[in-house]
Amino acid sequence: MASVMSALRPLAIPLLALAVPLGFAVWAFPEGLSGIRTAAIVAGWLGCGLLLVSLLLMLREPRLAAWLGGLERMYLWHHRTGVVAYMLLLAHPLLLAANAFADSPARAWETLAPAAESWPVWSGWLALVLLMLGLALTFMRRLPYRAWRWLHAALGAAVLIGLYHLILLGIDEPVAPILTVAALILGWRAVRGDWGLAARPYVVASAHRVAEGVVEIALRPLGDPLVVAPGQFILTAFFKGPDFRGCGEFHPFTVSAVEPDDVLRIGVKALGDCTRRIQSIGPGVAARVLGGFGSFLAEPHATRQFWFAGGIGVTPFLGLLRNGGLIAPTTLLYLYHTEDDAAFLPELRAIAAATPLLTLQAVATARGRPDLDRLLPDAPHLIGCECYLCGPPSLVARLKRILRQRGVTPRHIHFENFDLR
């Protein structure tokens, strides 16, 4: 039964993304209208359903994440459903105008023109423009995370205004419950995810620098500890402490160890304003922790393994090694710029020396792009292996491409993407 559930888990989100919008469209399917007007209304309901699924997929609940195949997967589909919903909602007014075009071009424009309309249409336009601006900002990678997060939240307002647009049109019977559900999901995320009501209180027990711009922090629980495995990731926010003031934002960090007294260790690399500030953290700082998320290394395989780590991406592998989790011959290819910024390198060398099943290949790549063609094993050495990748998205993308070229099938390539934007 558990294996059937595990096999069905990858289908959970696609099925949800089909069932909800199709359910809306079937329920609200108009009868007796022209084909184009019917298409316009169906596009609106499909977009509305997909937006609701997109909202659900932004919740940060460990149990929900486990049912739906992981938080990373939820965020991937949050983006996909959001963009497809946006495209359907763009089509909605255009199809309404196209329907009126048969009467006259002037009437088609009057259908779209906000100046000729009132609040029911203005609210539709407002929602669409907010959605447009919110998505544009979502794609701006250079925006600081804190500003990005608040601007991204405008998309939630767009969803609520879009649903209110339907109520103003007099379609309140099916929409009022949908609006309530959407508001509840947004509130749930804000209260439990962003304000941290669902998070457990921890305190920093110790912190020590493990490389240039990388600190390993030990977190001691102040109440019931989280159920977390090494290699999973947790969302952690740091607050006030002696001589330290955290930014209070939840960021994902990999668990590098779980100690017998439930102390968690995480590796934090200085990648932005908040994580740069964390480099100077000390004992006594209050923290709140959500998790654990991710099943990257959760199912150990007895077959030969290749692990590919880029920079701080070595942390989940270290977590597994510290836990003594090796059951098959394993090669760890660890790529870093210089030995100064290679986190945990001395410890990894010591573990490799004491672990016959582990072969460590530590490679300094300087500042250029690593020559992966040369560094990766040949096809005969890769076929039949399980390949695990963790590192910057561009490196993981290149690794995936080369592994596929060398005959490794997708089901033998496992990777984790930390980008929760």
């Binding site: 006259s104 002037a106 009437r107 424009w109 009132s118 794609f139 049109l169 379609i171």
Partner: protein, 122 residues
């Protein structure tokens, strides 16, 4: 995803501009001639057309046969259908928290006009 966003947004605004250009510069269609205004329709006659498949309404002194328009009305049927067979000027003027219908709606009405409303006729 980014490419999809950029392509769909660009296409959307291109089509909005195309609708604006066509609506502004295309020759305006002749308004359908209104029915003769002299036919008096009483409240009793109006009330006999109170079903969605035979729906007359009195609005601002005129009577309109809105049967063919009902499926195109944006709101759910329960909003408009109860006004079939009735004097609906108040409902028409106070849609959406007191706001009247749009100019577009005003421009649609004449083609459905079938006479003038005579509320007190016996």
């Amino acid at each position: 995803m980014r490419t999809l966003y950029v392509a769909s947004t660009t296409a959307f605004w291109a089509l909005v501009i195309a609708f604006w250009a066509a609506g502004t510069w295309a020759p305006h269609a002749e308004q359908p001639p209104a029915a003769p205004a002299d036919r008096a329709i009483t409240a009793a006659e109006l009330a006999r057309h109170a079903r969605p498949e035979d729906c007359w309404m009195a609005i601002r002194g005129s009577v309109y046969d809105l049967t063919p328009y009902l499926p195109d009305h944006p709101s759910r049927p329960q909003v408009i259908e109860p006004w079939c067979g009735k004097e609906a000027t108040d409902a028409y003027n106070t849609k959406t928290k007191g706001r009247p219908h749009s100019k577009e709606a005003d421009s649609l009405l004449p083609q459905y006009r079938i006479g003038r409303f005579v509320p007190d006729a016996k």
